[in-house]
């Protein structure tokens, strides 16, 4: 069952290495993924429009680090919690919640109504980002496979297995099965 309500937490066994390993590979990997997504979906930046230059703090509460998203530069940087630079807008929630929103499994307003998602700062920028990503119908699992075509078959199997084990929605599902 996918984390349709965004209430699945990351297994503790995965959190421990994240606490001790350096963050630069995370920043490099996520920025490469962001560049790939923005190249494949130019409509995202069109929808974000004048808010492209805003900085977004993505405070994923069950990760030991925070993310800072800069859409105009297609950059995502991981920062130690508490050391992240100031952002124009802050969105806080669980990783499962963020992934569920991104994959069209969960509605952002629903998470907000339930208190599972908090937002602060520039609301116009938050709405522009949310609406742009929702319209793009992203599939992170597929994007990762396309980025590494030689490894696509094992990656596909690994993503599916990880999804089953954790409940985290790592791919865009057939939404008729989710609803």
């Amino acid at each position: 069952m996918l984390a349709a309500r965004g209430d699945v937490s990351i297994p503790r066994i995965l959190i421990l290495p994240m606490r001790v390993l350096p963050l630069w590979p995370v920043s490099l990997g996520l920025s490469a993924l962001a560049r790939r997504i923005l190249q494949a979906h130019p409509e995202i930046l069109s929808r974000i429009d004048k808010y492209q230059s805003k900085g977004f703090a993505l405070d994923i509460t069950d990760l030991p680090f925070a993310l800072h998203l800069d859409p105009a530069r297609a950059a995502v940087r991981a920062w130690p919690r508490g050391a992240a630079p100031p952002a124009d807008a802050r969105i806080s929630g669980t990783l499962a919640g963020f992934l569920a929103m991104l994959h069209g499994v969960e509605d952002g307003d629903t998470l907000f109504f339930s208190g599972a998602l908090q937002i602060e700062g520039d609301m116009s920028a938050v709405l522009a980002l949310r609406n742009a990503l929702d319209d793009a119908e992203l599939d992170l699992g597929a994007e990762v496979q396309r980025a590494l075509p030689m490894l696509a078959p094992p990656l596909r199997a690994a993503i599916a297995r990880f999804e089953r084990l954790t409940g985290l929605p790592l791919r865009r599902p057939d939404l008729s099965e989710v609803y």
Binding site: I48, G104, E106
Partner: protein, 325 residues
Amino acid sequence: MELVCPAGTPAALRAAVDSGAHSVYCGFADATNARNFPGLNFSRAELAEGVGYAHAQGAKVLVAINTFPTAGDEGLWHCAVADAACAGADAVILADLGLLAHAAEHHPDLRRHLSVQAAAANPDAINFYAEAFGVRRVVLPRVLSVEEIAAINREIAVETEVFVFGGLCVMAEGRCSLSSYATGRSPNMNGVCSPPEFVDYANEGGQNVARLGGFVIHRTPNGASAPYPTLCKGCFTSADKTGHVFEDAVSLDASTLVPRLAKAGVTALKIEGRQRSRAYVGQIVRAFRAVTDALEAGREPPALALARLSEGQSATTGAYAKTWR
């Protein structure tokens, strides 16, 4: 009954159509429609593509051009009507008298629906719009009981459409000045109840504090259910009493009243939520399509469990099941 479903983006339009919408309503990305939020709505090309997608699956597309044009700047609204017609829209949803007259004169073959923003809530008003501008359907304000809707339908010749799920406006729609008071902008002219640039959330002392135009409109403990940042759902303190002055933070869910609404002569059921994601649209449309299909087949409509998706995580049947004091 016709299920009229919201779409704020092309992806939401596809989700609505794929989930069983009979009709989808949407708007252009400018001040001509009452859901003018950043990142939302359709370009001209996206609308044409959306119309093609919907028509291929037997669904209709209705274009909401339902704000009130600014005097001397009607061109934007006139252009929107022309572009909706050009894109193959099945109807336009209008509120302004001048725009209705313009559409009737310049686009006589384009079906005209009266937006809820026109607040036409009695037979005299509805018949006027029908006779003067050839309006074929009226979206009724959310302040009428089922019995009052039945009485209206007996005295009019046009179709009626009523909201059955989503945000609950209890004001005289199209006439609300609450946002104007706090922000200097209004849903009627600018297209949003609470312009996001005037909304501020802050975490203060373990509470999520929402401000609109600098006014604190509610405080909720972190992690607790929160409403939209609109003045009408605000929680205020006056004379040592704290509460919701205008309306509780709840959403409309009239799913249990659909059979009675059908008997009252209602043609179409409208779901609010163009500002919501494709996940919301897909879930709500699928649920309500099960209701209309059951009704069509003469079966008991299924009970829906949609409160989780609602503002305040609770629902009400609103004015449909009560009368005003």
